[in-house]
């Protein structure tokens, strides 16, 4: 009377589908491996010709001209300068926006605030670059700052606005994850909203907020178009925001636009600088992901 418990035919379809789906997930792994291999091989060849010491400490970057020189510091300093000014805008104001959204704004306000910030985040970076060059730089000149046509400050400030939604969104997530019970305890003791926000919620959400900062910095470091358009193509070691600089990303773009023979040393600089960039952002991304995991574990 009992029917068989074994399948009437082997379920090959199921196994096949499982493999197909696993292959899709493996594409992401292949991508990472691809990035590493793509960067590693030419970089190794590059560093056979250019000593790592000279690369990392040299202050003259002119690989495309004679006599060529391969010190990457000007590019790194350019990246740091623009990133610094981006952070001046993005970190405090991003956090401020997040505190407002999570502690002060009513549910109706939140409903359009978050999408509005997403609009800001969705603007293509080339559009921001246009804005930096054609509006921000003239404005800074108009208010009396001695900025050149291409300068680190315009690019940095606009980059900051571009990153602001990322910082705000992630910090807001971290703060809304803090349980109401913590706030209620403080309000119950008679604390003001200012005190509760800054002394209870922000410290409780700190790892998430720091994660958002780190991610914002990472995005600033990796950003290309705004700096390529507005910051300049002159690699110099200077922290002066009024001068033109060149970032690592802008340099890579510059070489990409030009017609550089494959296999030449100049061609390999794409990969060497790219590798430097990748390693820097990778470290920051991993730190940020760890921090997010930490606060998620606590509250979820």
């Amino acid at each position: 009377m009992a029917r068989r418990l074994t399948a009437s035919r082997r379920r090959y379809g199921e196994t096949l589908i499982r493999f197909a789906l696993m292959a899709c997930a493996a594409v992401s792994v292949v991508t990472t491996v691809g990035i590493v291999v793509a960067l590693l091989e030419p970089s190794i060849e590059f560093f056979r010709e250019v000593p790592v010491g000279e690369y990392l400490t040299g202050t003259d970057w002119s690989p495309l001209f004679e006599p060529s020189s391969f010190g990457v510091l000007p590019l790194v300093v350019g990246t740091l300068t623009t990133t610094f000014w981006a952070c001046v805008v993005a970190l405090p104001f991003g956090l401020g926006a997040a505190i407002y959204m999570s502690e002060y704004a009513g549910p109706r306000a939140r409903r359009w605030l978050k999408p509005a910030l997403e609009v800001l985040a969705g603007i293509p970076t080339v559009v921001f670059g246009y804005f930096a060059l054609t509006a921000v730089t003239p404005f800074l000149q108009d208010i009396g700052l001695p900025v050149e046509i291409f300068n680190a400050l315009s690019a940095g400030l606009v980059m900051g606005v571009m990153i602001l939604p990322t910082v705000a969104s992630l910090s807001d997530d971290a703060m809304t994850a803090v349980p109401m019970a913590l706030r209620e305890g403080a309000y119950g003791l008679g604390a003001s909203k200012l005190a509760v926000s800054t002394r209870v919620v922000v410290p409780a959400a700190l790892s998430g907020i720091v994660a958002s900062f780190v991610l914002g910095i990472s995005r600033a470091v990796g950003e290309t178009m705004i700096v390529a358009i507005a910051a300049g193509a002159q690699p110099t070691v200077t922290f002066n925001p009024y001068e033109a600089v060149q970032t690592m990303t802008a340099y890579i773009a510059q070489v990409g636009i030009g017609d550089v023979p494959t296999g030449s040393l100049e061609y390999k600089t794409i990969f060497a600088v790219g590798a430097t960039l990748f390693v820097a952002t990778l470290i920051m991304n991993i730190v940020s992901i760890r921090l997010v995991r930490k606060y998620r574990e606590v509250y979820e």
């Binding site: 009377m1 009992a2 418990l5």
Partner: protein, 297 residues
């Protein structure tokens, strides 16, 4: 004991569904003082079964026979592993990677966990109704039709759906709105829908994991009546934390109790398994008596 039937007559349900494999046992509802049940042919033979999650045991040393065309109740306080145990019968514990099942469960003499056994086939024969009604986000019709469609049941789908709904005592209430979304039904109706859905694939056994705990008393009583009707054609195992429910509907009752291991870990095991009458009037085990009388929760 149920008195009024608020649905179609059960004879109608039986005659409309030719079930050549099922001996139509004449089963009566049991009252205290009735003569003991005859020995039923066992549908499940459970021998020394234990379940552990990542080496933390949840139940141990479970040994009992589940009888054919009987309602067997698993009762006991929360945390003693009743749900874990019942999920062994249809291999739903397979879905939890950390779960490990020891011992053997024979279904009509075949080892449920034997090599080559396909859990999908097992679940076609051994169906389950869950604690919280879980209809699919589809129409009533498509909810019932899902099972037959995926297992490739031949036949006229309209007829299959109608039969299942009639057997679950839901047909008259929904026959004019089969295309409506299932979520618009009340809780009790949704649960009967889930029962109909389970019946549509023509299982042999119905497992019920606290099927009435999310329902109001009226819906509960309708489902209990339904259970007594379904007993004629199916074997039912029900987990319930409601002792009175076990006393009302079941023929056999197994009492599980937690045993405290180190710290807060509790492992469930059977303290007594006997006819329901006996469990509730004259149990052998002291712990059973304490639980029944409410001295122990």
């Amino acid at each position: 004991m149920p008195t009024e039937q608020i649905m179609e007559s059960p004879e109608q349900a039986i005659t409309e569904s030719p079930r050549p494999d099922r001996p139509t046992t004449k089963v009566e509802t049991r009252r205290p003082g009735d003569a003991p049940l005859g020995r039923a042919e066992p549908i499940f033979e459970v021998r020394d079964v234990g379940v552990s999650y990542d080496a933390n045991p949840a139940v141990r040393n479970i040994t009992l026979d589940i009888g054919h065309n009987r309602i067997t109740a698993l009762i006991g306080p929360s945390g003693c592993g009743k749900s874990t145990l019942i999920r062994c019968f249809n291999r739903m514990n397979d879905l939890i990677p950390s779960a490990k099942v020891d011992g053997s469960i024979l279904y009509h003499g075949q080892d449920l966990y034997g090599a080559g056994v396909d859990p999908v086939e097992v679940r076609k024969l051994i169906g389950m109704v869950f604690q919280k009604p879980n209809p699919f986000p589809k129409s009533i019709y498509d909810n019932i039709a899902f099972g037959p469609r995926v297992i490739g049941m031949p036949g006229d789908m309209d007829g299959i759906v109608e039969r299942a709904l009639k057997r679950a005592a839901l047909w008259t209430e929904v026959k004019d709105r089969l295309k409506e979304n299932a979520y618009r039904l009340s809780g009790g109706q949704q649960q009967r829908l889930c029962i109909a859905r389970c019946l549509a694939v023509e299982p042999d056994v119905i497992l019920m994991d606290e099927p009435c705990s999310a329902l109001d008393p009226i819906a509960t009583s309708r489902i209990e009546d339904l259970m007594l009707e379904l007993k004629r054609d199916y074997s039912i195992v029900i987990v319930t934390h409601n002792m009175q429910q076990a006393a009302r509907v079941s023929d056999m009752t197994a009492v599980l109790m937690p045993e405290v291991r180190d710290g807060d870990m509790t492992v469930g095991h059977i303290v007594e398994y006997a006819e329901t009458n006996k469990i509730f009037t004259n149990p052998d085990n002291k712990r059973t008596e304490e639980y029944i009388t409410g001295r122990v929760g």
